[in-house]
Amino acid sequence: MKTTKKTILVIIALIVALTAILAACGGEKDIAVIARTSGSGTRDAFESIVKSEDGTSLKDAGLMKGAIEQDKTSAVISLVSSTKTGIGYVSLGSVDDSVKVLKVEGVQANAENVLSGEYKMQRPFVIMTNKALTEEGRLTPATQDFVKFLKSTQAQQIVEEEGYVKQEEGASEYTAPAENLSGNIAVSGSTSVDPLMDKLIGKYKEIGGAKVAGVEISKNCQGTSHGISAVKADTAGNAIGLGSSAVKQADEAQIAHFSIALDAIAVIVHPENTLEDISVAQLFDIYTGKIVKFSALAAA
């Protein structure tokens, strides 16, 4: 009997100690800054758009030390949804009910505002091919055909169905090729474009039917930079890269590209957060570590 009593005492003591620790952790907590890892196109786009008041981009200033970096969109959402003081950014298409999307500069993140350009936090989804090969027409027939499809109105329809903002300009109707095509197309790049690409490949196979049945499309997405390097290194003319941020000036010489859709980057916080609106400059201050509490935003 004595032993059970002691056990109970020990357990009670532990519980008391834990509650004490919990109680000690009251007061307003710092902001938990959640970002993506460095190869991510979402991060690249976010850091290029977010600028301080004097025009320095977050990319040049550098992410604050100690930010949480996650390699997956879902992890960012999951962390924000369980962290009352969390803030993160993800593709608008991935957002669910577990988090709250903030207005940026007073503008709601939706298709309309993205297209009109009012919503600042947007980036294109780009399709990239090797520039030299493309200009010399040395892409394989299958790749050329697939690229043709990606530029088509049918592809744009899928883009819209999937909740992204379509790019109106220059789309034409795609028809299945006259001859049977075959060969391998290697798709790689942005994980954000990956789900959209899934649907696009499905539609391509559907429209192309028997003519493109011999075309094997293999897809492996590990980040925009991965796609960029695959396209640069392409010699067979069958590499297609997916990018989730605008192609950089430095890469223009080697990469032919067009954008297939626009995507909004949603700034997300915990649903219980009372904040509704945030400015780009405030985002800059948060991600560089200058603002560490949400109350500082409300005061400003």
Partner: protein
């Protein structure tokens, strides 16, 4: 006779050659990682690489030009070490006390239940651990953190601790049970309480075995990748507290490998090289500990262990044992219930058996096919090689032979190499060899190398369990050694070998890091052959949970994966029982115990 002796010699040579293959494999891993990392080290300077405090790689850096990025891994080096030590503090303590509880404080049924709990925990894929950590444990800790988010050391230690817990618990249990019962009885006879007998006599006697268990736990914690990536926070800075985001070396590799530039890639390989050095150190430590004959049988000597001196302290130890075991059970139960609640409602026929086309509904069928192909290919390669090597080690080689010692060292190294380093190795060898594309074949080859130590150890244990009298009988009847091995020893050890195969299947199922850079990591339609890319179930789970679009499917996939792991565990258990029953006629009690231990050890090796 002449013909026979040639056959015998050839047989022996063949077995020796397969065993030597382990040395080759271990050497190849080191060589390839070093070759790949030397240019980067030359570019950055070894000192700058090891002791530089900033990791800010630039993907555009190429060899021979001034570097734009900086490549210092010290923060991650420290991060890895601190996380490992903390994980050991959690998992080692829990594991040790659970082992004590299992060995001395519980009866047959409870013990059986807990033993299978430990085995199950050992089989849980690390992706699922990470998933569980981020969804369930993290919110629990969030209130404690100054930022409101608990990514960081504490969370990582708990998750890693639970991952190394089964290793430590089952190995410590084996060590405790190996202590002659006379020690325990003697202590009781001298008037010690049960608790004192356990903690002051048996535990000190099993010290070397327990230390070995801890070292193996350290090895596992050092190399863990997929779970750590989810819970550590991943900022490449020094650990500043329990809740600051930090990055481990393994996480660094898996996070940046996918899109690394030239120099960056080299630096990542060098990071793998540093990990290998740590592995080598743990292997050396392990061999020092286990070969230390002096520590054995010194249990009776009075020790100055002030913590466990009095009766009260020993009693507290017992309570810790109960609490640890209960905690492990609760953890596993929470994990399984969580997955079931979240995943079960989303398991549908489309998900399980539907065809997957690009753009269609998600189905795990292509991944199941890819996984089966990987399992098939890797077993065809690893099983024969592993069994032959085990035959050589157990039937032919004397233990004093230096060649054999090197082989054993190589096997230890192979089993200690982190899975992400296997991934790196596979990416530079098999992927390049097979034409530069990710393929199932490349993934299967990579995992085959990884399976070798598992197969060898499990097979060896079951060979050891075959009574000597059987061999002697066969030899006395005039059979040659080869014939004895193939017609008498191997058939008797068959259930154990099958158990080894099942353990290997489990390993292939639960690993993900070695496949990401060899087989591919996005969802793909039905593989058309061994040369097409594919994703195993564990990698698919990682992918599905990625963009927050297929969360339900991810849970369902996790459920299926857990279910398969459960089944495999049960199957391995049944095989183990068969092996035991087979030799039940054998009266020798000592040997019986040996077999039992052998089975347990075979399971731990998984």
């Amino acid at each position: 006779m002449e013909k026979n002796s040639i056959k015998e010699k050839c047989g022996k040579l063949l077995f020796a050659a397969t065993a030597a293959l382990c040395i080759a494999a271990a050497a190849a891993i080191f060589v390839f990682i070093i070759i790949k990392s030397v240019p980067a080290l030359a570019e950055t300077g070894v000192g700058e690489f090891l002791f530089g405090t900033t990791w800010a790689p630039d993907a555009n850096d190429v060899y021979g030009q001034p570097l734009a990025g900086s490549y210092g891994i010290l923060p991650m080096l420290v991060g890895t070490l601190v996380a490992t030590v903390c994980a050991l503090a959690v998992g080692g303590t829990l594991g040790f006390f659970t082992a004590v509880f299992l060995s001395y404080y519980c009866g047959g049924k409870v013990k059986a239940v807990f033993t299978s709990v430990i085995n199950l925990l050992a089989g849980v894929p690390s992706v699922i651990f990470g998933f569980f950590g981020i969804k369930v444990i993290m919110p629990l800790f969030n209130a404690l953190s100054p930022t409101g988010n608990s990514s960081g050391l504490l969370l990582t230690s708990v998750i890693l601790g639970m991952m190394i817990f089964p290793t430590v618990a089952s190995l410590s249990k084996t060590a405790l049970e190996a202590v002659p019962s006379a020690y325990f009885e003697g202590a009781l006879a001298l008037g010690a309480t049960r608790d004192q007998a356990v903690f002051r006599t048996v535990v000190p006697a099993a010290k070397s075995g327990i230390t070995a268990a801890m070292i193996l736990g350290v090895g596992r914690a050092l190399g863990e990748t997929m779970a750590v990536v989810m819970v550590a926070g991943n900022s490449p800075q020094f650990i500043g507290g329990l809740f600051t985001s930090f990055r481990t070396m393994t996480a660094n590799i898996v996070l940046e490998m996918g899109y690394a530039g030239e120099v960056q890639m080299g630096a990542l390989f060098a990071t793998g090289g540093v990990l290998l050095v740590f592995v080598a150190i743990t292997v050396v430590l392990l061999s020092l500990v286990t070969s230390d004959k002096k520590t054995k049988g010194r249990g009776g000597k009075r020790r100055g262990n002030f913590l466990l001196n009095g009766r009260r302290a020993c009693f507290a130890g017992k309570v810790c044992g109960f609490v640890s075991a209960a905690f492990a059970l609760a953890f596993l139960a929470a994990l399984i219930i969580y997955l079931l609640v979240k995943g079960l409602p989303h398991i549908s026929t489309q998900l399980l058996f539907g065809a997957y086309e690009y753009g269609g509904e998600i189905s795990i069928l292509p991944s199941v096919a890819a996984t089966l192909m990987t399992v098939g290919i890797s077993l065809v390669i690893a099983l024969p090689l592993g069994i032959c090597a085990a035959i050589f080690l157990n039937e032919y080689a004397g233990s004093k032979n230096p060649f054999v010692r090197v082989i054993r060292g190589a096997i230890d190294v192979l089993s200690g190499v982190p899975s992400i380093v296997y991934g790196l190795f596979g990416a530079v060898t098999f992927v390049t060899l097979l034409g530069g594309n990710y393929s199932i074949a490349a993934g299967a080859l990579t995992i085959s190398v990884m399976l070798l130590p598992t197969v060898i150890r499990a097979t060896e244990e079951s060979l050891r369990a075959v009574p000597m009298s059987l061999r002697e009988g066969a030899l006395a009847l005039g059979a040659g050694k080869l014939r004895t091995v193939f017609t008498v020893v191997l058939p008797s050890a068959l259930p154990g070998i099958i158990a080894a195969a099942i353990l290997s299947v489990g390993r292939v199922m639960s690993e993900s890091a070695p496949f990401m850079f060899t087989m591919g990591s996005s969802i793909q339609p039905m593989p058309e052959g061994a040369m097409s890319g594919g994703t195993t179930l564990a990698v698919l789970l990682y992918y599905l949970s990625g963009e927050n679009l297929y969360t339900d499917e991810a849970y369902a996939c996790a459920c299926v994966l857990m279910f398969i792991v459960l089944l495999l565990n049960a199957a391995a258990e049944v095989m183990g029982r068969l092996l035991q029953r087979k030799f039940q006629g054998e009266k020798n009690v000592n040997k019986k115990r040996g077999r039992k231990r052998a089975l347990e050890r075979a399971k731990e090796n998984a």
